[in-house]
């Protein structure tokens, strides 16, 4: 389950509530986009590599994740410095 947010109507108005004047058959279109969040990975006190959903990520990097998405983060159990 992911979240979508209203963006605009086909006339580029950006309020999800709009006024229309009906004189004949017409079609209106509401555009939506995924709600995206940045997930930043940090590690302390040492910088390690991890994976998010199987994709490598380094400390200090971020990935875009749609809201509502379940992610799997794997970090190394032990590190040598």
């Amino acid at each position: 389950m992911v979240k979508y947010s209203f963006v605009k109507w086909e006339d580029n108005s950006t309020n999800p509530s709009r006024s229309i004047t009906v004189v004949a058959d017409m079609t209106i279109i509401a555009s939506y986009s995924l709600v995206i969040h940045k997930v930043m990975f940090q590690s302390q006190p040492v910088s390690v590599q991890a994976t998010i959903n199987g994709q490598p990520i380094s400390a200090g990097q971020s990935v875009d994740i749609p809201e509502g998405t379940t992610i799997t983060v794997v970090v190394p159990g032990e590190v040598s410095v």
Binding site: I20, V22, M26, T27, I28, I29, A30
Partner: protein
């Protein structure tokens, strides 16, 4: 205000055969479009069923239907439906709408005109537990225009008695049956006109109909108001409100009076 998710519509304004349908069946008559009768200025479906045609004769329109992927809950409406003759025999059928399964050519449910006690009646013909049941009522008249709407709701799972079939005439519920185990097979074929009908012994039977609509919800008589269609991109089945009233989810069409109205969609949806 009428709102519905439209699956298919045909006003028979395209006079090129087969008039926007998959095809026509003229086994026992002639199928065409006409502006001659019962009114002018707009074309309508026009069917002639031969005099002496026996029960099960065919003259009408047909098309494939894929509006509901599994068990159907379908509403079919036509305006200006009229016949001018009685069928030859008691309980002879002059179907208006029908839902079928192909390629086995089996009817799941249909409705239309019949003859009971020598007079015209409405009929609802449906399946229950593998048996066809014939339900009649109302007092339609020959040579009179009607809005005829059929609802067929297939039972939700095998053996579950929650199917239904309803017939509305001019927006009034005339015949209704619920608790049906009507069929597990997919409705994939719609017919309109005198399909699987019985003729009149001496005169051809003429059938007229227009403004055919198939939808996922009750349609009702044509209001004459403009239609506003609301879609979303991507298609997310977004709830829609018109003048503060919830009307359904996209894609949806709503018939509302001319003038200024407020349309609102949900600002966030989770799918």
């Amino acid at each position: 205000m009428i709102a519905l998710p439209v699956v298919y519509s045909n006003n028979f304004e395209n006079t090129v055969s087969p008039f926007g349908w998959t095809g026509i069946n003229q086994t026992a008559g002639i199928v065409t479009v006409s502006s001659d009768h019962p009114y002018t200025g707009s074309y309508n479906a026009y069917v002639t069923l031969n005099a002496g045609a026996v029960a099960g004769s065919y003259a009408g329109f047909y098309q494939s239907y894929a509006g509901t992927p599994n068990r159907a809950h379908i509403f079919i409406r036509a305006m200006n439906v009229m016949v001018d003759q009685l069928p030859a025999n008691e309980n002879g059928r002059l179907p208006v709408h029908g839902c079928w399964v192909q390629p086995s050519a089996e009817m799941i449910g249909n409705c239309g005109f019949t003859k009971v006690g020598g007079v015209l009646k409405w009929f609802n013909y449906y399946r229950h537990n593998g048996t066809f049941v014939f339900q009649t009522g109302g007092t339609p008249q020959l040579n009179t225009l009607y809005c005829v709407e059929l609802e067929v709701r297939q039972n939700s799972a095998s053996g579950v008695a929650d199917g239904a079939q309803r017939l509305w005439v001019n927006g009034t519920l005339v015949l209704e049956v619920t608790g049906l185990i009507n069929d597990d097979r997919i409705v994939n074929y719609l017919v309109f006109g005198l399909m699987n009908a019985e003729g009149n012994a001496t005169n051809p039977i003429h059938f007229w109909g227009d403004s055919y609509v198939v939808a996922d919800g009750y349609i009702g008589p044509e209001s004459g108001n403009p239609w506003v269609t609301v879609n979303s991109s991507p298609e997310l089945n977004v709830p829609v409100y018109v003048d503060g009233q919830f009307i359904g989810n996209t894609p949806i069409a709503v018939s509302i009076p001319s003038g200024t109205h407020t349309v609102r969609v949900e600002s966030e949806v989770t799918r």
